[in-house]
């Protein structure tokens, strides 16, 4: 920063500017956003706290390596448009990460200001710039097409990031989303009061403006298999999220009123159950709701319960508040909203009445013992300390395990013992041209880590396809399409031909919780008894178009595509 108008001492004298929030008593009764965003004068003041360190430790703390000193410097100079350009060059979804990133563990944890006082409010500044730019940003230029085509499976943070990066590089990108609205966890999981849906819609619109095609209601693993996508696209990025919710594993989980956090939040966020009966999907509200867990999802669920009208919304966590993995800001907001924290308790059983409605959660008190593998002190039950928290609804927010829907459609795809997709240092799976990232690789992680994976995968896919193009057609898609990439009909033709030849899109058995290691590569495809013709009368399967290659009657992922580069 040449001509620095402020001395370091002057900068250090400015206190961290607080984020304005809505009155807890008001906001606990609706789903409006809690944090209001820094007004411009406070943002500019906050930006003046940045010391513009020559070695910017904050950048190293960011999973997508946003050039933080540069964008903050431009905010300080009042060039918000310039700041937005810098920010967007590194981070496709700043309006989202500014709201949901755990900054206190990432960029802000690395900020030198934090050594003696409060770190720079990097997340708040990021959100300020993103929101400022939202109404003003020019439509991004649509780059010249490379001719390469990429399928992205899943439209959560990882998929959207990869799609944006690839479209900016001139690839024809099609995103497949299983639900009816794009956004993945940003839509079904994170509530409106923390991340307004409008912001997700805005980011999705920006991608479609870049030429990204988004197809909803496509369940890869069922509608199309991974093999079939590989047959028509040059590369595939799999970012389907973690998937199957874990339950508590205690008696009584079949009672009415027990939810996974995924179901509870999906009903409210995606299906708008807060608006029942004006929206058609109901949710059991309950006068007293207990949410089990200590992460962001648990916080989202318990604060949702409060907003649905619960007299008492209780968070039950087996460690103490200091070990909670949730964002510090959300814990504070929950506190303000009157959430009751039951710390150091672990569920033992769900109690129900004669009609099998939930009536309480039996818990046992815990104490902290020796540190475990995560470095946190391990909670240990205190004998004889069982007690019951009376409640009508129990929500399990204790994590997820890998969803086998996609992986089971491609037995040759290598998995980890937990059923996650195994990738190499480039984010590529054992199948050439198939990359993966986000929770399906990491287990339950964060929005920003999924975005980091998407960003890296896009660069690796670009390198992979550029290399392939340089070496000729071997590594590229065998089908030729318009510059817009494969159209839905192209895939239907391929799929119809493929399944006619090998009608058994067979499943491997679902990975049971706690089952032995699954070695995907060695697991043979199960031959299934299948009808020799379609079960409806008089209709043959649709034949592929003449211009398409003959379907491959393979028994697994097509080995002929696994060409070394």
């Amino acid at each position: 920063m040449n001509g620095d108008p402020l001395s370091k001492r002057q900068r250090l004298a400015i206190g961290r500017q607080p984020m304005p929030v809505r009155d807890p008593a008001l906001r606990a009764g609706d789903f409006g956003e809690v944090a209001l965003g820094l007004p411009e004068h406070l943002a500019l003041l906050e930006a003046r706290r940045c010391l513009a360190c020559k070695v910017a430790t904050c950048v190293a703390g960011c999973p997508v390596a946003v050039d933080i000193p540069r964008f903050v410097g431009l905010v300080e100079a009042g060039d918000i448009a310039g700041a937005a350009r810098v920010l967007l060059a590194d981070n496709a979804l700043p309006g989202i990460t500014g709201r949901v990133c755990p900054q206190e563990h990432q960029c802000e944890a690395a900020c030198v200001l934090g050594r003696k006082g409060a770190p720079l409010a990097i997340g708040h500044l990021e959100r300020f710039v993103a929101d400022w730019a939202a109404g003003r940003a020019d439509a991004p230029p649509v780059p010249p097409p490379t001719g390469g085509t990429v399928a992205v499976v899943g439209s959560g943070p990882g998929g959207l990031t990869a799609a944006g990066e690839l479209a900016s590089r001139g690839y024809a990108v099609t995103v497949y989303e299983a639900l009816h609205t794009p956004g993945g966890v940003l839509i079904y999981g994170i509530p409106e009061f923390r991340l307004p849906k409008e912001i997700v819609a805005r980011e999705v619109a920006r991608l479609t403006g870049l030429g990204v095609r988004i197809e909803c209601n496509v369940v890869v693993g069922r509608t199309y298999s991974l093999d079939e996508l590989r047959a028509v696209f040059d590369a595939v990025f799999v970012s389907v999220g973690a998937g199957l919710p874990l339950f508590l594993g205690v008696p009584g989980e079949g009672y009415k009123g027990v939810y996974s956090a995924n179901e509870y939040l999906t009903r409210v966020n995606l299906m708008q159950a807060y608006d029942f009966p004006d929206a058609d999907t109901p949710v059991l509200r309950g006068g007293r709701v207990v949410v089990v867990g200590g992460g962001n999802v648990a916080l989202d669920a318990v604060r949702t319960a409060r907003r649905l009208g619960a007299d008492e919304a209780i968070l039950a966590y087996r460690r103490s508040r200091a070990e909670m993995p949730a964002r510090v800001e959300e814990i504070g907001h929950a506190d303000e909203e009157g959430i009751r924290f039951e710390m150091l308790v672990s569920p033992v059983a769900v109690e129900g009445d004669a009609d099998r409605w939930v009536r309480g959660l039996r818990c046992i008190r815990m104490e902290l013992g020796e540190p475990d593998a995560s470095g946190r002190r391990r909670p240990v039950p205190i004998a004889g300390s069982e007690f019951v928290i009376p409640c009508d609804v129990v929500v399990a927010a204790i994590g997820t395990r890998a969803n086998p829907l996609l992986t089971s459609s491609c037995p040759d795809l290598a998995l980890t013992p937990e059923g996650s997709i195994a990738v190499d240092g480039r984010g590529m799976t054992n199948l050439a041209g198939v990359f993966a990232g986000g929770d399906i690789v990491r287990g339950s992680a964060t929005v920003i880590l999924a975005m980091g994976d998407g960003k890296r995968a896009a660069a690796e896919i670009d390198a992979y396809l550029s290399g392939a193009a340089a070496q000729g057609p071997a590594g590229t898609g065998s089908l030729q399409f318009t510059v817009n990439g494969p159209q839905p009909d192209d895939l239907i033709a391929v799929v119809a031909g493929n399944r006619a030849a090998t009608p058994a899109l067979t499943d491997r058995p679902a990975v049971a919780p706690g089952s032995a290691a699954q070695d995907a590569a060695s697991r043979p495809r199960t031959p299934a008894a299948v009808p020799s013709r379609p079960p409806t009368q008089g209709h043959a399967g649709r034949r592929p178009e003449p211009s398409l290659p003959a379907p491959q009657p393979s028994t697994g992922c097509r080995p002929d595509r696994d060409v070394p580069l």
């Binding site: 209601n217 999906t266 299906m271 409806t536």
Partner: protein, 281 residues
Amino acid sequence: METQTPVGHEVLGNVVLAPAVHRLEVRAPRIAAVRRAAQFVIVRRGPGAERIPLTVAAADAAGGTITLIVQAVGKSTAELTALAPGQMIHDVAGPLGRPTELVPGGDAVVVGGGIGAAVVLPIAAALHAGGTAVTSIVGARSQPWVILEEELAAFGRVVVCTDDGTRGRPGLVTAALADELAAGAAATVYAVGPVPMMRAVAELTRPLGVRTIVSLNPIMVDGTGMCGGCRVTVGGEMRFACVDGPEFDGHAVDFDELADRLTAYRADEALARSRLGGGDS
């Protein structure tokens, strides 16, 4: 409340099969191309509507259509059955669930109670196509509610039962099934219908050791394994009907829990139904 531009899947036909039971032909080429017996779709009529699972009763891959048989029991299903040809269903996702388990060897009896006949239809078709001799037992409370008798007849013998004896043999499907089992015809039984019927079938076949497959339809939201709302207990283990099912071993299913969980939203459903036709849909 409807969007201005029609988007989604066109309803090409809507035929009444029985009181409140409609057969919808819906345009869904990519699902028609790949769906197999026992698989289902999740349908969302439009903005604000529920996601509801419906078995794909039949499909025309060449024509790009699927057949859904819908019984109007609540607001969402009533609105679906009210769709006229040319109207749109906003979202149809699938096919979901595992294809039917076609047990090799021996003859099969498929038992469809009420709307369950729509679920056994594609199973009977697939069994027949695979060379298995199929007997279909179709049950209904009374003659007007007997559905798909003719369609099932294309795949083998059909026994119709009505509770009141107004069509076919009087009595429950289990009595007809007991006769079939006594005749020794069945190596495998596929049973789909109300929970008490499936439980009764399972109890009938259990002592005989006849393999019995049931297709479950618990409350479901996403249909992809993400929410766990459709969890059922099978053999003492938690399974998700959407990704592990919908078919399970009828001798291992906890039917009491299933029946109970199906009532979780009874009060909400009554409220929604009471507002149906109130002019704001």
